[in-house]
């Protein structure tokens, strides 16, 4: 320590210019000056341009009347609503398609990823073809393929394709029965919540008992019975309040039921198929990343193949899988902005319309960026928390 102090106090032998610290400060000062000058110049230009185009800056425009319709909306919206509400509708649509897309992509991805490691040659090849096809074409093309190549050439409503459970498929989308909740159906939801709470409680108790005594308890079957049984019981007790509104053929269209529009359907299918190919590769890498010794050791302990996978391989593979999986989820969310190409009113599409109508380019782009950044950060936070929970607990 002392010798270092002495060394540091010694005057540097080289020239003042060659001192890395001085150089560092100098370069940073240059960067700051250039940056400030650039920002000032840009700000000056922006203000100039805005005054010339007579656009008032600020977010006051969000309260103005939107005046355009949105085909799909999770909340009440009409053309009389405000610009702010239009952007909110877009945001909700983005969230909806991202969430269902993530769930489907994860399921397909895990199946295909495990399939690529299967003992079965045929299954392996089929999964490889799937991954290699979808990984190497642009997501936008997949969206167009579903939209113009598949869904647009379906038969018109009068010749709808009948599907099981009273659902229909035609040019205008996918129709399925809508559940109509009658009086007293709140009891079913309460029963469901109680069931989930009970299942959680049983699982906790069972684990404690197994830790203490080594006795196992059939947690899965008990939970399933409680979660399914209680709502069923409530359904019977409250006098069968649930009925279905089936889509019906009328002269020109289908009436009733729940309609999923082709825009949503093609975006959702394309994002799921595309992202699933990447998730499959991540899952494959994760499972292969677990060393063979682990499987063999588990086998030597007498675990059955299913248990080996569930108790030994998957928990370790998850640690490798989660970080890249997070970025795939974020990619899917960002790719959902491709909706604009087929007219699904997501955040980018509605904010783009607002931007075009009001001319508030700066504010519009800023809103878009802030919302996407917020979604990204939130997803990262949740996945980091999950990752920390799954991480190897070391001393």
């Amino acid at each position: 320590m002392a010798s270092q102090e002495v060394l540091r106090e010694e005057p540097s032998r080289g020239s003042f210019i060659n001192d890395p610290r001085v150089r560092g400060i100098f370069f940073q000062a240059v960067v700051v000056v250039v940056l400030v000058a650039g920002v000032w110049w840009i700000a000056h230009n922006v203000i100039d341009n805005l005054t010339r185009l007579r656009i008032a800056s600020g977010f006051g425009f969000l309260k103005g009347r939107a005046g355009f319709d949105i085909s799909e909306s999770a909340i009440a919206y009409s053309s009389d609503s405000t610009y702010g509400r239009a952007i909110l509708v877009g945001f909700l649509n983005t969230v909806i398609v991202a969430v269902v897309g993530i769930i489907t992509a994860t399921i397909i991805g895990f199946i295909v990823g495990i399939g690529r490691l299967s003992q079965n040659w045929l299954i392996r090849k089929i999964c490889t073809v799937y991954v290699e096809v979808f990984r190497n074409i642009p997501p936008l093309l997949v969206i167009f393929f579903w939209y113009s190549g598949v869904l647009a050439v379906l038969p018109p409503p009068r010749e709808s394709i009948n599907l099981p459970f009273g659902s229909f498929l035609n040019q205008r989308g996918f129709y399925f029965p809508r559940a109509v909740w009658g009086d007293g159906s709140w009891l079913i939801f309460v029963a469901l919540l109680v069931g989930i709470a009970m299942a959680w409680f049983v699982a906790r108790k069972a684990r404690q008992r197994q830790m203490a005594t080594g006795q196992q308890f059939p947690v899965f079957w008990t939970s399933a019975a409680v979660i399914v049984g209680l709502p069923l019981l409530a359904y019977v007790l409250s006098g069968f309040p649930l009925s279905f509104d089936y889509p019906k053929q009328s002269t020109f269209n289908l009436t009733g039921g729940f309609q999923v529009r082709p825009e949503f359907l093609s975006l959702y299918l394309a994002l799921s198929c595309y992202t699933a190919a990447f998730i499959a590769e991540i899952v494959r890498a994760g499972i292969r990343g677990v060393s063979k010794g682990q499987t063999e050791a588990a086998g030597a302990l007498g675990l059955r193949p299913g248990s080996i996978l569930r108790l030994v391989v998957v928990p370790q593979a998850m640690r490798i899988v989660i970080p890249p999986l997070t970025s795939q989820y974020l990619n899917l969310t960002k790719n959902s902005s491709l909706a604009i190409a087929i007219g699904y009113p997501d955040l980018t599409a509605t904010a783009g319309t607002v931007l075009n109508q009001t001319g508030q380019a700066v504010e519009g782009v800023v809103i878009m960026m802030v919302i996407y950044l917020a979604i990204s950060l939130l997803t990262s936070l949740v996945m980091n928390w999950f990752n920390a929970k799954m991480a190897l607990v070391e001393r």
Partner: protein, 385 residues
């Protein structure tokens, strides 16, 4: 003596017996790979059912029933739709792709000037192929020609307006020409820019580090469409009145900056994987910062992250298709635009056009990923951890 006569030494090896039927040969392969267990057999049957269901349909559609040549939509429409095909016919309409092939390649580039993009394409291939084959010598000269001379020549040829070549607006460009030029420039710009950003992010100077982190994380957090919006809507506002630049250039800037942020993270991964001893070794040799990076760190770091770099390239190549949003027509955009051509509007047109575009994209991306695997193996010195 007698004993000596009885002794016997075998002079040659006995011939190897063939493996038992159960462990080698076709039968064993089938048993191991297709019907190892009951579950396996069920999966095999399901797989065969899937293939039998789908494959003949695809082959029928794409080859047997396909229409390869034809003057207009009648060739690909059924009688009821006003065409020549029998009722219930479905097949690919390659005639559409055939008729529009020129457009799909270069967009609305004037027909009498089309030799210019073709010449550029020939030059590009002539320079790229020797660059990719490791055995061909003079890589340095080749790289200079490919990355410095070719862009200049290509610019002069494609844009024109000098040396007696008529000027061609970039708004007339389209098809594969736009896709390839956007991705080539994007690749050429994003790699060096990404390296600089990655070095900045690992720099010890707080201001530079902060700026790099803000740039990288912001760009990575937003979709490319937003960046393109930014480039097409905001850039004109940032410039003084009267100054504006080409839409094509704006898209180029957007795509390059976007790819650079992703590239920076890939390169940073490589930088982090280099042991500290390498940095310290370079320091103790008296190398300056740039010498240290250029001679010691980067060659090792970049080699480690080749797959990541190529993945970013592939991602960018696919992402160029998004320029359709700011109404530019790359390969996908021009294919989509041609769906609305009334001369070719049939039920099969969209499908055929999209599958053709998908095939082209697939060829490029698959080629890139295979080449990266090849390079990875070639450069592997066994030091990888």
């Amino acid at each position: 003596m007698q004993e000596h006569d009885m002794s016997w030494v075998r002079a040659e090896m006995a011939l190897a017996e063939p493996a038992p039927a159960g462990v080698a040969g076709f039968q064993a392969w089938v048993r191991k790979n297709l019907i190892a267990s009951t579950g396996d057999t069920i999966m095999t049957i399901a797989g065969i059912a899937l293939v039998v269901m789908i494959l003949p349909q695809i082959i029928n559609w794409a080859f047997i029933n396909a229409v390869w040549t034809g003057p207009d939509r009648t060739a690909c429409a059924t009688v009821a739709q006003g065409g020549v095909q029998p009722e219930g016919w479905t097949g690919a309409c390659w005639a559409f792709v055939n008729a529009k092939f020129g457009q799909f390649m270069v967009g609305r580039y004037p027909i009498e000037e089309r030799w210019r993009p073709i010449l550029v394409a020939i030059l590009f291939v002539a320079l790229l192929v020797p660059m990719l084959i490791p055995k061909v010598p003079r890589k340095g000269l080749n790289a200079i020609l490919l990355f410095f001379a070719l862009p200049i020549v290509a610019f002069i040829l494609l844009v024109g307006g000098m040396f007696g070549l008529p000027h061609v607006e970039t708004s007339l460009w389209g098809g594969l020409l736009v896709t390839l030029s956007l991705s080539f420039v994007g690749i050429a710009v994003s790699l060096p820019l990404g390296i600089v950003l990655a070095l900045g992010r690992r720099s010890k100077m707080p201001i530079i580090k902060t700026l790099c982190v803000i740039f990288i994380e912001t760009v990575r957090g937003i979709p490319l469409i937003t960046v393109l919006f930014f480039a097409s809507v905001m850039l004109p506002l940032f410039l003084p009145e009267g100054v504006s630049f080409d839409k094509f250039l704006r898209a180029l800037i957007g795509v390059s900056l976007f790819a650079a942020a992703y590239m920076a993270e890939v390169v940073r991964g490589g930088l982090q994987a280099i042991p500290k001893g390498q940095y310290e070794g370079a320091d103790s040799l008296g190398l300056g910062y740039w010498q240290k990076m250029y001679l010691i760190v980067m060659p090792q770091a970049l080699k480690l992250v080749i797959p990541g770099i190529v993945n970013t390239f592939i991602g960018m190549f696919k992402d160029t298709s998004l320029v359709i949003i700011i109404s530019m027509f790359d390969l996908l955009g021009i294919v989509k635009q041609n769906f609305s051509d009334p001369n070719w509007a049939t039920a099969q047109t969209a499908r055929s056009g999209l599958i053709f575009a998908a095939f082209i994209f697939w060829l490029f991306c698959f080629g890139m990923s295979r080449y990266s695997m090849f390079t990875e193996r070639r450069l592997d010195t066994g030091h990888k951890r």
